[in-house]
Symmetry: C2
Subunit: 241 residues, 2 copies
């Protein structure tokens, strides 16, 4: 429907004040699932800043899932690109950035749906699971997931159908012991978390070699080796601080 419309004037910039910060198991980008929900055991916390009154969380516990809006803050320094290479296209075909979820986009904005695991209204904390969020990510808004309006099961999936991977994941006796020890000290199923992450194949799309990789989770360094369709977790060590 065409109609006379005033020409858009030069857009005024919009100032956004972060409402909180993400604390997550992912201190670095490598290993982060490419979308939320793929790694249920990946957990974290949204810590609200003091300028947000804690009663703004009232009633959130009625919902099971939450949209988190954030800035891909580590992407800002690299700038945005009109065309990007999504991992789902093998990393060697380009599409327009607005046909992708790439962080290298104008304004570097992200949105993820996560599971609500607990709301601590008094302390301004929300415990979340199934996350794909880097530790330290600035949060600019949160909203309840509302299925009747957000869930479109039959939307066309373009080049991004649900990914299917299958790897056999083995732990060396040493890395299995390291998991057991860590789990006795922390309330986390580390071995299951590592399995879920590696099953997503965190290797870069252009770089699917059989070799050894390192990934960080909290203060741990995890080393694992690809051999065809088998991944062996070799070592788990504390990171030097």
């Amino acid at each position: 429907m065409d109609q006379p419309a005033p020409q858009p004037s030069a857009p005024a910039s919009i100032k956004i004040q972060p409402i909180g910060i993400i604390r997550s198991c992912f201190p670095e980008k490598f290993g982060i699932p490419r979308q939320p929900g793929l790694v249920p055991d990946a957990t974290g916390t949204i810590e609200l800043y003091d300028w947000i009154a804690s009663d703004s969380l009232e009633g959130l516990e009625q919902f099971s899932h939450l949209w988190v809006f954030f800035q891909f803050h580590k992407a800002v320094a690299r700038g945005w690109k009109p065309r990007v290479r999504p991992p789902r296209l093998g990393g060697n075909k380009k599409v327009g950035v607005f046909a992708s979820r790439s962080p290298q986009r104008p304004n570097f904005l992200g949105h993820s749906v996560v599971a609500i695991q607990g709301v601590d209204q008094a302390r301004g904390l929300i415990h979340i699971g199934g996350i794909d969020l880097l530790d330290g990510t600035p949060v600019i808004d949160i909203k309840p997931y509302i299925p009747y309006t957000d869930s479109l099961l039959h939307a066309a999936e373009g080049y991004a159908p649900k990914p299917v991977h299958h790897f056999d994941i083995l732990f060396t006796p040493e890395s299995e012991q390291a998991c057991t020890k860590y789990q006795s000290q922390h309330d986390v199923n580390l071995q299951q978390l590592i399995r879920q992450i590696l099953q997503q194949d965190p290797r870069p799309a252009y770089h699917k070699d059989d070799r050894t990789y390192g990934m960080r989770l909290w203060d741990l360094n995890i080393r694992f080796t690809y051999t065809s369709s088998t991944i062996t977790v070799e070592h788990i060590h504390k990171s030097p601080t």
Copy 2:
């Protein structure tokens, strides 16, 4: 999982540059559906600004639906509130703003999923349908809807199950003729659009009287009267400009 984490420092503000602007059938708030997708015939256009290279839209036509991220620009002047009265609770119960989709939220950010009706890459235009967006809304990002990660059919819906309304909608001979005339001049099914909007019951939650209301669509003024479960569209006139 508790671990020592550095205290969040005072958050730096984030500067957002709008990427485009919404042109929509809704020149004012009254009549806008409360969520996207409820009024399929409500259409509009995203006009990208010149600073966005047109090849950033390449490949978007593979998808059927789009997330639009925007600012509720008309809400900014009123400020945000920690607790709000959602229409779905009858407008008389409060919840925390983060347990709602209210525009009166910190940063005034909105997100809507809309149907992609056409991508005009050369001119930087995206034609969209099922919108709940005010004309002139600043757009800060767009992303393809990806069902495997965005569609959670079984998420808990809290206080917001799918709304069910039913009204009998009648047109006076005069208003029916006005629709026919408008439709002969514009590529739009005005009568169907009006039916879809009125079926959503645009009246404020606290104000469900049987009386006459006025609503604007493009340059038209539409007057309609509620009588119990019947709505009669009385007049359709051009707005004075």
